[in-house]
Symmetry: C2
Subunit: 372 residues, 2 copies
């Protein structure tokens, strides 16, 4: 199902996908042509409860993969309206699904995309969803304490909390996939035909870090590292994203059980990623720009991520060849790129939309000093 809000946001931001993507119905037709498989499209908004009920009743799913959330942290930090839109869209859409499942389809397995960003960067090891805490001589296994760093990340924590309660209360089945930062462009499925291509976001609002660095390096824009680049994040190839979702669907929890997996394959550091991209494009320049986010410049980061591997995930780790594949997509779509979009122009510390923090595309790199 789709309500096309992501395409509408492209109109709002003046942004686009670096590689061209067809419409919803055209892609469904292409999928049928290439694979013989029929997908049933539903057009509507999860915020609309009647639509959600009708869809669940009509399709009678055994599993639902829930991607229908506003998924950009910078977008949620543009101003009050974007923060409120993000939290209402995500919380109400998920509540509607939970109620519809409890009412019509309590046996159905909800697979929800979460984010590693829910955890923030605590000074202890991050576990998968829950942690055993020993305190004053007593012990309990409790939800891992979260420290989300944007109104988007907060909305995902709200959803995780709502789902955990609903699973306990109505004896539903749900899996939360706390996904790391995704890179890469194609999957086995989208690679079948160009008509199946998926979005390649490269802008400062929706583009993820490695994809953005590749665009910058290929197109002659400085590689923009936020702050010192000391941020470490769990990351994964988009090919592994789809495999993880498949694994989750193949392993539904019991009724009343909420599984939480940390969905990433390796921990990578933003500064080191910039170096790796630069090494493959020695003509590129690394530029440290003031960090628009409020996050720790350097921090401890170690997160468990064994559950999906135990269930059969074979990680694609980041190779130079994979980076070169991304370069290739950028080169092939060079004429579609709008370089001004790659800069971070949403400042976490402001309450209203500001001029871009840094727009000096042609000039000398700024000094690497960062106020943080």
């Amino acid at each position: 199902m789709d309500n096309f809000v992501r395409r509408q946001i492209d109109l709002e931001l003046g942004s686009n996908s670096l590689q061209p993507i067809l419409g919803f119905h055209e892609r469904i037709k292409a999928w049928r042509r290439e694979t013989g498989r029929i997908l049933t499209p539903y057009v509507g908004d999860l915020q609309d409860y009647r639509f959600t009920l009708k869809m669940i009743e009509d399709f009678a799913p055994d599993a639902i993969v829930h991607f229908a959330e506003q998924r950009s942290a910078p977008y949620s930090m543009i101003d009050r309206d974007h923060a409120v839109f993000t939290q209402i869209n995500n919380v109400v859409g998920t509540l509607n699904l939970l109620y519809a499942l409890a009412k019509l389809r309590p046996d159905c397995h909800l697979v929800k995309l979460g984010t590693m960003g829910e955890y923030g960067t605590p000074n202890i090891d991050i576990e998968e969803g829950f942690i055993e805490i020993q305190h004053k001589g007593r012990t309990d296994v409790l939800p891992f304490p979260k420290q989300p760093g944007s109104f988007y990340h907060l909305s995902k924590v709200h959803d995780s909390n709502n789902i955990l309660f609903a699973v306990n209360n109505w004896k539903l089945r749900a899996t939360d996939l706390n996904q790391g930062v995704v890179y890469g462009v194609g999957t086995e499925e989208t690679d079948l035909h160009p008509d199946l291509a998926t979005r390649f976001d490269y802008d400062g609002v929706y583009g993820t870090v490695l994809n953005r660095f590749c665009v910058e390096a290929v197109l002659g824009h400085p590689i923009t590292v936020y702050g010192k680049g000391g941020q470490t994040r769990g990351m994964l190839d988009v090919k592994d994203t789809v495999r993880c979702i498949e694994i989750a669907c193949e392993n539904p929890p019991e009724r009343g059980d909420f599984k939480v997996y940390n969905q990433f394959t390796e921990e990578l550091n933003v500064g080191e990623l910039a170096e790796r991209v630069h090494a493959l494009r020695p003509d590129s320049v690394i530029q440290h720009v003031p960090n628009p986010r409020t996050e720790k410049a350097e921090h401890y980061f170690k997160a468990a991520h064994t559950k999906l591997i135990d269930l059969g995930l074979k990680p694609h780790l980041l190779t130079d060849d994979r980076i070169r594949e991304i370069f290739k997509v950028v080169e092939d779509n060079r004429e579609r790129a709008q370089l001004a979009l790659v800069n971070p122009n949403i400042d976490w510390r402001q309450t209203e939309r500001q001029e871009p923090l840094w727009t000096d595309l042609a000039g000398e790199p700024r000094p690497t000093t960062v106020k943080d």
Copy 2:
């Protein structure tokens, strides 16, 4: 400020305050008459961002006491619409306040009413907002893991998380008062004159446990204990509620600091409360009814609550005289009571409004067996 939504909910539920209360403007006039003090009324909804901005700009507050939330767990569990209303009302109202403060009044101190119900009933001691966790040889102080037990309690956790982020991000000042279950009717201020009386909720949706037991005992209704009555909760006298808010306002945090206090004075057990009420009204009958909520029948409960006492709170502990004072209010307003309202008629396990779980006012007590 008020948007009168609580009075509107009385219309929806067919409920009322046991003691009569005047309108907003009449109470403000009475306050001026009795004390010489002028209160400035604002009529509007915190969900309206323009209203919120105008109010903050016009009044230019040094502190805001934020009570503007839908505050009933059963109300939030009526059905999907009431769950969504509760979460949107509470989350958006609080987001609007945070944005308005960040934009116009970042020095202002936000005092937010939270609830002890955010914590649930973990098998370890509950701390005040944060807990030091030692894990695999490392240590951090992290937000205390929450296990809220209704969509209302979840909305409060969402708010606590949003506030913590906003305080860090914009360097605001905020205090979260995780309040226990309130009992009692009058405060020093409302006792000045009957025109200043505040609500006395006795229904199964908004009435809190001790007040409801007193109504039942005085009016000849069985004292309805949910399940075995093994639930232990932090509780406090409404007189202490207002003193705690005063203490919070007198002790603003530094900019960028989020204080969390557990606001209750003693831990009381529901079954024992029923016994205490019964002992003062020996003609009353205690009746165990199926628990409409999903909560543990018996559990560990020990929660820190020293910070407000360290700041000067002198607790009013629950005495038989205090219970008799509540009896007196019930007797004085006997003719206003609608006894059918005291029964729990919202079942946590249902997704849509049901017939009351238990309406047999005249008959024999049901057996105390509870499925839980």
